[in-house]
């Protein structure tokens, strides 16, 4: 029966990790709505997470829109449906590619940076020092970052949406020879508020996921530089997987009836 022992041990380890993550999530989210609040830290984090991610998000958005227009054209031309390119670009960008690609890119940038920062604070006893200085680390370190992620991600995705549609426009007009006003008219006519809104709701959820995973893995890192390195990797991988899973669940919720 000894071969069952490692299986049981792995399963118990998995359950422990899930329990710890759920406990951390509940504690972190509850601290976001209970005083004291740290507005200066929230603003600083919003600048770090939001403002400094703009170049990454902008580049991701514009190339996603350009590729989408080009790929759609080569496919749709076989059926003489080139006119639908504007619709495909705007729908794909606002509903899916904007939030998911921006989420994944920012997960790489912010998830890693949060895990490394908080992980280093953990292994150098700075988190213990906070506790001895009458400051709850969950309130001071974790809650402001989650609030900043929740607020800034929808703005980042809005930027990705606008730049992505603009990328599609550039390729359609300057490379594929579309009429600019017709292209814009088609884009505008086909776009519905719920397409954008669903993307923004997804973005807010992704913002919480990315910051939560970064903080969680950093907070529980152990064992010096190697531990911080592992926390960084785990933060990015787990945030990316959770973004893709939650994207499917949210899409199912928004568009299942359509």
């Amino acid at each position: 029966m000894n071969f069952l022992q490692p299986i049981g041990s792995i399963f118990l380890g998995f359950l422990t990790s899930v329990g710890r993550l759920v406990q951390f999530t509940i504690s972190a989210l509850s601290h976001t709505v209970r005083p004291p609040f740290y507005p200066r830290i929230i603003i600083r984090q919003m600048i770090d997470i939001g403002f400094y991610s703009l170049p990454v998000v902008g580049l991701t958005g514009i190339f996603a829109g350009m590729v989408l227009a080009l790929q759609s054209y080569t496919g749709f031309a076989r059926f003489s449906a080139e006119g639908a390119i504007a619709n495909v670009v705007v729908l794909s960008i606002t509903r899916e590619l904007g939030p998911v690609l921006a989420g994944l890119m920012v997960a790489g940038r912010i998830g890693a940076s949060l895990a490394a920062e908080i992980g280093t604070m953990r292994v150098t006893e700075q988190i213990d020092a906070l506790t001895t200085l009458s400051t709850n680390p969950m309130k001071f370190l974790v809650a402001p970052r989650i609030v900043a992620g929740l607020i800034t991600f929808p703005f980042l995705v809005l930027v990705a949406d606008i730049i992505g549609v603009f990328g599609g426009y550039i390729v359609a007009v300057y490379k594929l020879g579309f009429n600019p006003s017709n292209y814009l008219q088609n884009t505008w006519n086909f776009l519905q508020a719920e397409d954008v809104n669903s993307g923004l709701v997804k973005a807010a959820v992704f913002g919480v996921i990315v910051t939560l995973m970064g903080c969680y893995h950093g907070y529980h890192s152990r064992g010096g530089a190697q531990g911080v390195g592992m926390a960084t990797t785990n933060a990015v991988v787990s945030a990316s997987i959770m973004i893709l899973c939650s994207d499917y669940i949210l899409t199912e919720m928004f568009f299942a009836g359509i």
């Binding site: 213990d128 020092a129 001895t132 009458s134 400051t135």
Partner: protein
Amino acid sequence: MTDPTPKIRIRGVKKAFGRKVVLDGFDLDVGKGESVVIIGGSGTGKSVALKCILGLLEADEGSITVDGREVVHAGARVHEEVNSKFGMLFQGSALFDSLPVWENVSFGLLAEKRVNRTEAKEIAIAKLAQVGLGADVSELSPAELSGGMQKRVALARAIAMDPEIIFFDEPTTGLDPIMADVINDLIVKITRKVGATALSITHDMASAHKIANRIAMLYEGKIIWAGPTEDIDHSGNAYVDQFIHGKAEGPIKMAVRA
């Protein structure tokens, strides 16, 4: 070990990490205004003992009272109240990298909203002066300071809130002998000046001799000897003799692989 009115009273504390038992019936009393040093080899549980008192780790069994208040299995509110009596000097200083020196020193005052930022800076500069640092370092970041200066800043932070009890975790580790002596002198001067109770852990015997009224030796999770500092050189305890003279031969066996 039988002070009638101990500031800190520890009885039968046990703490294990998995199968590894670190504290196994740890008893100690620290009287008001007394300076007690716990000595012991690396990995004997000195830091764990300190963290159990601070509530950073939860003891598995036993009792720890601070001014008569039980902290083992106590709630967050009790820990917050009790911790407001403490100041702590961490082994690696544990200064916050993201804040300038003066904000590090006055962090606890600002966290408890006892003073505004202008007053906090004035207090920080006064505390820095007490540890022999000028106002010019107040705007520097901790990374710009040498190890000895970081230790002094950490000491200034530990005394910034005029604590009743100060913990010193390996205060001289990593410092050259002269700087170590400077830090020892500062500890003696400052604890006397503020009339604080001090509990230190170290394996530096020169430091222990200088800062302690009483020394206790921790071995295999228990206090195996405790007495006045002047008695330690003729304790009659083979373990203590081996440790204070730094001999490889004796009852304490180190796990060394050739």
